[in-house]
């Protein structure tokens, strides 16, 4: 994950920690399904920007942390984020050159699939399903341009490539 040769490598774990914090932020009950998938967004960015460093395994590990923090079944978000990392890693060359709006749409669709997968696991596990969680895809797409620009500026500042 982190290479000793590059000094900016620390930004990757830090960005995931910030994403986890955003995911832990308390919100009113009505806003819960509308929360953007912060961790997935940060993961998507790194898979696009540094596909050689951040990939399926990183996504899986981060997913395990998200599982523990959100009280989900161990392996649930790990599975979802591994798939998200796979998609972005495979198509990184194409998605990178999309205009930001189109990227946001792509991110929205991948998030929709990710949330649907989480719902499927919930259903199998006997946990209450909240279909409204799918709305997170919309807010994720809306927040993507902002997150993308923020992460890109942060990466450039630490000169990571």
């Amino acid at each position: 994950m982190k290479s000793a040769a590059s000094y900016g490598g620390w930004i990757i774990p830090v960005s995931f920690i910030v994403a986890l914090m955003l995911a832990a932020l308390p919100v009113p009950d009505w806003a819960l399904p509308w929360r953007p998938a912060w961790v997935a967004m940060v993961l998507a960015y790194w898979c696009l920007a540094l596909p050689d460093r951040v990939g399926v395994v990183t996504g899986w590990l981060v997913g395990m942390f998200l599982d523990v923090q959100s009280g989900a079944l161990l392996g649930q978000h790990a599975l979802g984020l591994a798939c998200v990392a796979y998609v972005f890693g495979t198509y990184h060359q194409r998605v990178r050159i999309f205009p930001v709006a189109q990227q946001a749409l792509f991110v929205g669709f991948v998030t929709l699939a990710y949330q649907a997968l989480m719902l499927a696991v919930d259903a199998l596990a006997g946990v209450i399903i909240v279909p409204a969680n799918l709305f997170a895809a919309v807010s994720t797409a809306v927040f993507w341009p902002w997150v993308f620009i923020l992460m890109r500026d942060a990466r450039r500042k630490v000169r990571l490539s």
Binding site: L25, P26, V68, G71, G75, L79, Y86, L124, I128
Partner: protein
């Protein structure tokens, strides 16, 4: 020497490996809960994240408390003093009753009931996947918290501990559909089970027969069956009773006694662990 592998595993292979591992973990965690240790270990690293998120919310609360007007402090103080006085008076009677209960139990040759050890925990202002039915507490295994431990607030039973990490733990509220509390009607002694519902606003009380003497406003207390929740604590108050002649059981709804929405501090209880030890004569009884 030439490296053995010239090509690292392709992303597809990695994805498949991760998927298989995830499926294994999900099924084990779902059925056996055997991954508690793994979860506890990971929660050590997650705790700082939760702590930092909780900090500003609690700090803001502390600032607001610090700015409270002197007049309201004085009136709060007087109210608490009166409440304390009333509680102390009831406690005097309670001590006498407890002694009488213990003597009667000894006469009947049944196990004397031990005192309850308690621990106060704060609710952390973090949200989880199931925030409507789960809460995160700032006490963990380091403080003696264990999975299945009952969680109470000032007015009644709130739920039980679902996961316990070293520094924090997750409690499942009684309104969670996965949670069933063995209860007893306080007035008549009729036993039933209170189960959580999807809406999370009320509990379904099962196994109350159609011809039972049940009224709206009746209090349900924990019966202590199953050994999870200590007996005698308020659980819920009945809000509706519907009788369907075709059904053997009545459809009863109850509202939890504990203030689930507004609780900030909770009490963790160790129920009656000293009973057997006292009989054996080696352990000391923890004073109530």
């Amino acid at each position: 020497m030439k490296p053995l592998f010239t090509q690292t595993a392709s992303p597809t292979v990695r994805l498949l490996a991760c998927m298989v591992l995830s499926f294994i973990l999900i099924s084990v965690d779902r059925t056996q809960g055997a991954l508690g240790q793994v979860r506890s270990a990971l929660s050590v690293m997650i705790y700082p994240v939760q702590y930092v998120v909780n900090l500003p919310v609690r700090a803001a609360g502390a600032v607001v408390t610090g700015l409270v007007a002197r007049k309201s402090l004085v009136s709060d103080n007087e109210r608490l003093y009166r409440e304390n006085l009333m509680l102390q008076t009831r406690a005097q009677r309670f001590n006498a009753l407890q002694e009488e209960n213990r003597r009667l139990r000894l006469l009947l040759d049944s196990t004397p009931s031990g005192g309850d050890r308690v621990l106060i925990a704060d609710l952390m202002a973090v949200s989880t996947r199931n925030s409507a039915h789960e809460v995160v507490l700032n006490k963990g295994q380091r403080n003696g918290v264990f999975v299945g431990q009952p969680v109470l607030d000032a007015s009644g039973i709130m739920g039980q501990i679902l996961h316990a990490g070293p520094f924090s733990s997750t409690g499942m509220l009684i309104t969670d559909p996965r949670q069933a509390v063995p209860v007893m009607l306080n007035r008549t002694g009729l036993r039933a089970i209170a189960v959580g519902t999807e809406s999370g606003l009320w509990l379904d009380v099962d196994f109350i027969p159609n011809n039972a003497d049940v009224r709206e406003g009746d209090l349900l207390v924990s019966s202590g069956m199953g050994g999870v929740f200590p007996a005698g604590y308020p659980v819920a108050e009945i809000i509706s009773v519907r009788l369907d002649p075709a059904d053997a059981f009545a459809i009863v709804r109850a509202q939890p006694s504990a203030d689930l929405a507004r609780a900030r501090q909770v009490i963790l209880v160790w129920p009656e662990e000293t009973a057997l030890a006292t009989q054996a004569g080696d352990a000391e009884e923890i004073p109530p």
